[in-house]
Symmetry: C2
Subunit: 318 residues, 2 copies
Amino acid sequence: MDASDGMQVVPPEGGAVRELLRVGGGVVELGAVDPRSTPGLPAVAGRGSARKAWARQQVELIGAGLGRQQEMLFAGAQAATGPQAPTSAPTSGGTELGRGRPQRVLLVLQAMDCGGKDGTIKRVAGAMNPLGLHIRSFGPPTRQERRHDFLWRIRREVPPPGYVGIFNRSHYEDVLIARVESLVPEATWRTRYDKINAFERELTDAGVRLVKVMLHISHAEQGERLLERLTDPTKYWKYNPSDLDSRARWDDYQAAYAEALSRCGTDAAPWHVVPADRKWYRDWAVAHLLRETFDELDLGYPPAGFDVAAERGRLCGD
Amino acid sequence: MDASDGMQVVPPEGGAVRELLRVGGGVVELGAVDPRSTPGLPAVAGRGSARKAWARQQVELIGAGLGRQQEMLFAGAQAATGPQAPTSAPTSGGTELGRGRPQRVLLVLQAMDCGGKDGTIKRVAGAMNPLGLHIRSFGPPTRQERRHDFLWRIRREVPPPGYVGIFNRSHYEDVLIARVESLVPEATWRTRYDKINAFERELTDAGVRLVKVMLHISHAEQGERLLERLTDPTKYWKYNPSDLDSRARWDDYQAAYAEALSRCGTDAAPWHVVPADRKWYRDWAVAHLLRETFDELDLGYPPAGFDVAAERGRLCGD
């Protein structure tokens, strides 16, 4: 029924996308990553515009697999904690982050304005069951949030076991915009890299698989996308005059990103820079990153936590 | 690229699904609604198994439209409250429910076990952008939740302006399971119908469009679906032995549903009973209910809240 019948997911060329796009553990030079490049895209994708159609079909195929793996992740958590346990709030007892075992995935998306965070969520998360997604957007902190430590609002939104979380912006804003726009003194944001690393260590210890992604666009591509938002009336709502103020500080933001990626790219929670001028490549790469993460979890459906034959007898005797 | 190219959404036959499936304003007789019936399904759907394929294609088509309308709903709220305003928590000032204007949609799904709530969410909400969805499941209340009024946890999860909320179970559990299983004294649950009506009135006054749906399955169909969960190891995780205890009280639950639908089916927030033994009809009907709700909102993209020419000048002068 759909055009991808008979097609298979083709692995990336040259190794896992997770390895190809990984940065950190040293100085990060964003200028050395071409936002129009397509690392790992296999030769079978073809050339020119053919690649786009190919990549879109691959994303659909990968998406179907992500949906199946997401269900297994969810099923495992339900079996571990009882049905309906993974509701909105983590319940009583122990740490805030749960009991250590049941796993979850958390995709952290960061980008300059127009970098494609929303589009990535729509394309990649759109293939999964919305019931098992925990998507949270972090805008400028509210008055209440500002009364707390910068990680307070983040901790409250860590996905429950079994869920796939997506952070549309994140705690990294607190070493990006907070730094570039001097929202807090330097002495404050300087301490945050270590705090972030400690927090993320806590998360990974509690069974959270972190997939941290910077969608990397060029200054020129940002300009074109902003112009589109100022030309197409159905896109006005996406535009904010303050976008141009941030754009004027492009180099400062790139430097802030480079330091965040360098200092917070750890073995437990590495950073990935996804070239994002080409939307089809961006989606393809993020889909593979999630796929590789799920594959590592080695998921399966949990065994019955009850006596199957006895329950069948109860059901059929009624 | 997909099989539905050239197809159009065919309107339901005999009037809006919203009218055809509406109950309330009098005694509700669930026994009079055949769970295998297909009210409103047009003759063009064909006969027998052809209808299923037709309905599935229609749901895809309707879904694409829902996605577009959802974006307009979201855009309108962003324009009204500033970009990134509709984050997780309603902010300071005024009522908890927002400023009255910006609209949102809230689908309330109730059903007996195996009634198809999860499947409906996957199929119907799956077509929308997950970024604009606010899906919440309400399981047994936690200890913290039990310390508050039964509406406390519900109020916290009302979707922010611009969002499409889905409640997977809801405050109606407090006059269903709470009544049938005597979780609270009769004197307590008896007062809740009026409280629910007052609460929902508050919601609709604040711009929330409520779409309340009971997925209506037969006792026999529930039996078959439970058996499937006890037969297919990839479905064990969906089964809970307590499901059979609820099944043993089928008539009590049906009576509790009938009273809830009768007493809380108001003009501002009517109840709809969707025959749900046939999954394809269920999805088709719920998709139309949402479509009709969106159509009433008469959505469009908001005008620019800034001087477009001036901003274009700023952008191109840089």
